[in-house]
Every structure is written in structure tokens, then in C-alpha cells.
């Protein structure tokens, strides 16, 4: 973990209000597992005051660059979307524990919903490197806000679901899961809570890894803002912190 004024290398609109931003700096050398995140301060003042947690979506260690994909929605992310190459952004990271890649298995599901999709991209790349075949199941509200279909396609089978049916299957990722053979050793999921719930109950019995979101203060484990109850004790505790213990947990650990 370190704090760094990183340089914007690229900023690109991928879809309606969805941006891809590439940042360069030494902090990249500390990045490891996919699913970790960075905590970004989008302005030097107090507007907004707090940092914004955003997942790392791909890492290029050779170039010392990494990429995030985010939705410009509220105050902070809207300001972020106005940055242009050469601007500097205050980044704290890499934070948290990501998805395990060294698994015993041949095929896995990577299930993402909306802005939960980005961390699956680096995950997919790293899984392929260790010889695991990723099957991507990605859900979006509509084709307007869909992104990275081709990028995922290039890495493996990719199924899309949209709520309004404007791309892929009409419906939720669970509709696609229903139709696919469950010949997988593991699954990985990142997306809104209802999706995580539905997915983990559909795939009960298969080892899964879920990435959670919570409102954060510090992002490093000091403030107890991002706590989730666990089903059983973890290290003698009845809770975990999404920022420092997670954001990725084995399915079943966190109370859904």
C-alpha cells in the first residue's frame, strides 16, 4: 500500500457514463492479485471530501500502468471523468485482498454485474495464464452501459444478459447460469448484493469467491465503516471489513 500522485495516461468513454482510465506510477509495482482496489481522491479540496473505492480492472506491470473502469454517477466519479491525460490523481493502493488465482480446476465461471464487471478482466487474464478456462457471464442494465464484450470474448466464452434485452439474453446473469452446464470447479462473482445472493444460491455446493461493496471511510481497515457480519467466526471475530479483509471473500463467509 502506498499513496501516490499518479499520472493519467488515458481516459476514454466506453459506454454511457462508463469510463476507462489508465494511470501510471510506482504503485503499480505493488499490485498483485486481481480484485484489489484503489482509493482515489478526485480533488485536492473537500468537494468531495472522501476518497472513492474503485477496482483495478487491469494491470500492466511492464509499463507501470493500470486501468480502472468506472461509472460517472455522483460527485466524485463525475469529477474523475473530467481528468485528461497528464493530470495527476491521488491514489491510495493497492488495497484489500483479491481473487485467488492459484486454484485446482479447469473451468470456472466469472460472473459480473454492471460496474462489478471490471475486476473480472484482470482475473480472467491471470486465470488463463495459469491454464484455467474462464467462462464469462456478464449482466448489464442495457446495451448502452455495456462494455468490454470483445475484450472478454478474446479471453474465453462470454455470455451477456441485459435487463432490457437490448443485448444478449433478456434478464439476469442467473438466467444464463441456468442454461449452462455446471462443469466448473469454482466461480467468481462481483456485482450488486442481490446478484451475489442469487448467484451463490444457484451455485451452492461449488466453491465460489464473491467481491463485496460497502460504503467506506478510510479504505484501509481503521474506521470500521465497511463491516459485514459473517456466518461463522473469522479469526475470532463475527465480522469482516470489506476494505482490508476483502473485498473478496469465499462464498459462505459473509452473511448475505
Amino acid at each position: 500500500m502506498r499513496q501516490e500522485q499518479m499520472t493519467v495516461i488515458k481516459q476514454k468513454a466506453l459506454a454511457t457514463n462508463i469510463f476507462e482510465m489508465t494511470l501510471a506510477g510506482e504503485l503499480v509495482s505493488l499490485m498483485g492479485t486481481p480484485g484489489q482496489f484503489v482509493h482515489i481522491r478526485v480533488s485536492g479540496g473537500f468537494e468531495p471530501l472522501l476518497r472513492r473505492p474503485i477496482s483495478i480492472s487491469s494491470i500492466n506491470k511492464d509499463k507501470g500502468e493500470f486501468t480502472i473502469i468506472y461509472r460517472a454517477e455522483g460527485k466524485g466519479t463525475s469529477i474523475l471523468s473530467t481528468k485528461t491525460p497528464g493530470d495527476v490523481v491521488d491514489v491510495l493502493g493497492p488495497l484489500g485482498n483479491g481473487f485467488p488465482v492459484n486454484i485446482e480446476g479447469e473451468k470456472v465461471f466469472l460472473i459480473g454485474g454492471g460496474i462489478g464487471v471490471p475486476p473480472l478482466y484482470e482475473l480472467s487474464k491471470q486465470l488463463r495464464e495459469v491454464g484455467v478456462e474462464p467462462i464469462h457471464i456478464l449482466g448489464f442494465q442495457s446495451s448502452d452501459v455495456m462494455f468490454y464484450e470483445e475484450e472478454f470474448n478474446a479471453l474465453g466464452e462470454t455470455y451477456i444478459a441485459t435487463v432490457d434485452g437490448t443485448a444478449g439474453e433478456k434478464g439476469f446473469v442467473t438466467h444464463i447460469i441456468d442454461q449452462l452446464p455446471k462443469e466448473i470447479s469454482h466461480y467468481y462473482a462481483c456485482g450488486p448484493m442481490p446478484m451475489l445472493k442469487a448467484v451463490s444460491s444457484k451455485l451452492a455446493g461449488i466453491e465460489g469467491f464473491l467481491s463485496f461493496e460497502e460504503r467506506m471511510g478510510c479504505g484501509i481497515g481503521a474506521c470500521f465503516a465497511c463491516v459485514c457480519k459473517t456466518n461463522n467466526q473469522v479469526d475470532g471475530r463475527d465480522y469482516v471489513k470489506v476494505c482490508s479483509d476483502g473485498p473478496v471473500f469465499k462464498a459462505g463467509v459473509v452473511e448475505l
Binding site: 476518497r51 478510510c218 481497515g221 474506521c223 465503516a225
Partner: protein
């Protein structure tokens, strides 16, 4: 010459800068970023007798120049705080101020008695001002009589000096301050958060699961400065000031208003290096103000 050291009851501070309770956990996370020994002191997270799980999430929300929190005094409980957290902190050359919380007077007394015996705990901070728990907390901090009695009860058992942390959510903070001084407090820390609320404009529902939360950050600095100014005029025990500090000038303002040292809360989330950064900047600031030792600033606004 050390131009920054401050002597307070129980506390020999290298400098007047310390992280505020609840914004720094028990130090472990920040220790990954810098050497905690540079700090004047550390105010650790509120400790209660039993383990507390705190409030449901979301627990934080952003506001204009501020944030709301309703953590709800989550902490691992007295035993673990002493055996794990405080023991771990002993590796650093930094006096600890233990934030003591509870529901009943007995709870406060039990935590105070036991935690004050930890070798690195040099003072207690009696949290009678937490707005985020249904029982205890702020209820002790809004009535002078109750505040005085609790202070006296804790003083009777504490092995170290006791600072009482005041709530700003009162009509007359001076009367509370005087009451705790009469109750035997060795110092005062102020202010805790203002009770506030944010609604989700779309749904109309509170953003924070608890409904209300405590407002902290730059937005509350004017209220904090006013209260430190007023209280320091009316009590003779020292004040540790806090509320919205984000830069070195804010520290100067709190000292000028009458605080002898300051704590930094929310700003640690914005800039995790804020405490060491400000400590480094202080000597140059003293030069700029033409002042030899930082203690000369204390209470300057009254002179």
C-alpha cells in the same frame, strides 16, 4: 531545542498532534504507512467492556465538507484491546490515550480501571458524547450533573489522568465543561461529532442505516473553534481540541482558541499521512508566525 513539545497531565507529548479516536483504529493500519512514534499521542478507538458489533451498514455518508458516521462503537472489547492492541502498540514510543465508553456507569468504571493499568496508556478519554449508540454515550454528556458524577466515578478508579470528551450537541457546553472539571477531570477533549442526517434524494430514506450519524470534518470547524474558545475561558484544565482539522493552519487556530493539543479525525481518511505531514510543517509555521515555541500560541485569541 524542541519547539513542539507539550506537557499535559499524564502526557509528555513530543508534539501536539494526535489522531482522534475512531479514525485511526488501534494504529495497525497506519503503521504500514509511517512510524507511529512520530505522533504526539494516539487516541485509540472507543473501548467497551464487551465486544461490540456496532450498527448496521451503511455507516458513513458524505456531506458538504463533512461526513456522517454511525459506527456504533464497534470494538473488540476490553480484554482484547488490552491484551492484543495495547500490547502491540508498546513497540512504539508514543503515549496512548484510551477512549472509554459504555452504557452504564459501572461499564465506564470497569473499562477505566482496567485499561488505565496498561503501561502505555498515559491518559483516559471519557467518551460521554458518542451520538451513535442508543444507550450511554451522549446521554452522559448532555446533563452537567450526570457528567460530573460519571467523571468522579471514573477518576476514583483510574490509574492515569482523565480527559472528558464533550459533545457539541448541547445548549451550554460551558456548564458541562465546568461540571466535569468539578468532577475531577484532568482535561477536556472536544468536540465529538454533531448529530446530523443525510437522505437519499431518490428514495427519501436516510442514507445511514442508523438514521442519524455524527457529522465531522471541515464543516464543523467553526463550531469546534467557538466551543474551545468559550470553554477555555471558563475552565483551568487543558483542552485537546478537534473538529475539522485538515491542515497546519487549522492546528494554529485550535491552539489560538485555547486548546493545548489537537486531534485529527476525518482528515486521516482523506490523506492518511496528514498527521506526520502537519507535524513536519509546524516548525516552519512557527517561524512564519515569529514564535519560538508552540505553547506560546495557546489561548492567543483571548489575549
Amino acid at each position: 531545542m524542541n519547539r513542539l513539545n507539550i506537557e499535559l497531565p499524564g502526557l509528555s507529548l513530543k508534539n501536539p498532534i494526535m489522531p482522534a479516536s475512531g479514525c485511526f483504529g488501534f494504529g495497525k493500519e497506519f503503521a504500514k504507512l509511517y512510524d507511529l512514534s512520530v505522533l504526539g499521542s494516539i487516541m485509540i478507538k472507543a473501548t467497551t467492556v464487551e465486544t461490540r458489533l456496532g450498527n448496521p451498514t451503511p455507516r458513513v455518508a458524505e456531506t458538504s465538507s463533512g461526513m456522517l458516521n454511525a459506527i456504533g462503537l464497534q470494538n473488540p472489547g476490553l480484554e482484547k484491546v488490552i491484551s492484543e492492541e495495547l500490547t502491540w502498540l508498546e513497540q512504539y514510543n508514543v503515549p496512548i490515550i484510551a477512549n472509554v465508553a459504555g452504557t452504564l456507569t459501572e461499564d465506564y468504571v470497569e473499562v477505566a480501571e482496567k485499561i488505565s493499568k496498561s503501561p502505555n496508556v498515559k491518559a483516559l478519554e471519557l467518551n460521554i458524547s458518542c451520538p451513535n449508540v442508543k444507550l450511554g454515550g451522549i446521554t452522559f454528556g448532555t446533563d452537567p450533573v450526570v457528567a460530573k458524577e460519571l467523571t468522579a466515578a471514573v477518576k476514583a478508579v483510574s490509574a492515569v489522568p482523565v480527559y472528558v470528551k464533550l459533545s457539541p450537541n448541547v445548549t451550554d457546553i460551558v456548564s458541562i465543561a465546568k461540571a466535569v472539571e468539578e468532577g475531577g477531570a484532568d482535561g477536556i477533549s472536544m468536540i465529538n461529532t454533531l448529530v446530523g442526517m443525510r437522505l437519499d434524494t431518490k428514495t427519501g430514506r436516510p442514507v445511514i442505516a442508523n438514521g442519524t450519524g455524527g457529522l465531522s470534518g471541515p464543516a464543523i470547524k467553526p463550531v469546534a473553534i467557538r466551543m474551545v474558545y468559550e470553554v477555555s475561558k471558563h475552565v483551568s484544565i487543558p483542552i485537546i481540541g478537534m473538529g475539522g482539522i485538515t491542515e497546519v493552519d487549522d492546528v494554529i487556530d485550535f491552539l489560538s482558541a485555547g486548546a493545548s493539543a489537537v486531534a485529527i479525525g476525518t482528515a486521516n481518511f482523506v490523506d492518511p499521512f496528514i498527521c506526520p505531514t502537519i507535524i513536519e510543517q509546524l516548525p516552519a509555521k512557527l517561524d512564519e508566525l515569529g514564535i519560538d515555541h508552540i505553547s506560546e500560541l495557546v489561548g492567543r485569541s483571548h489575549r
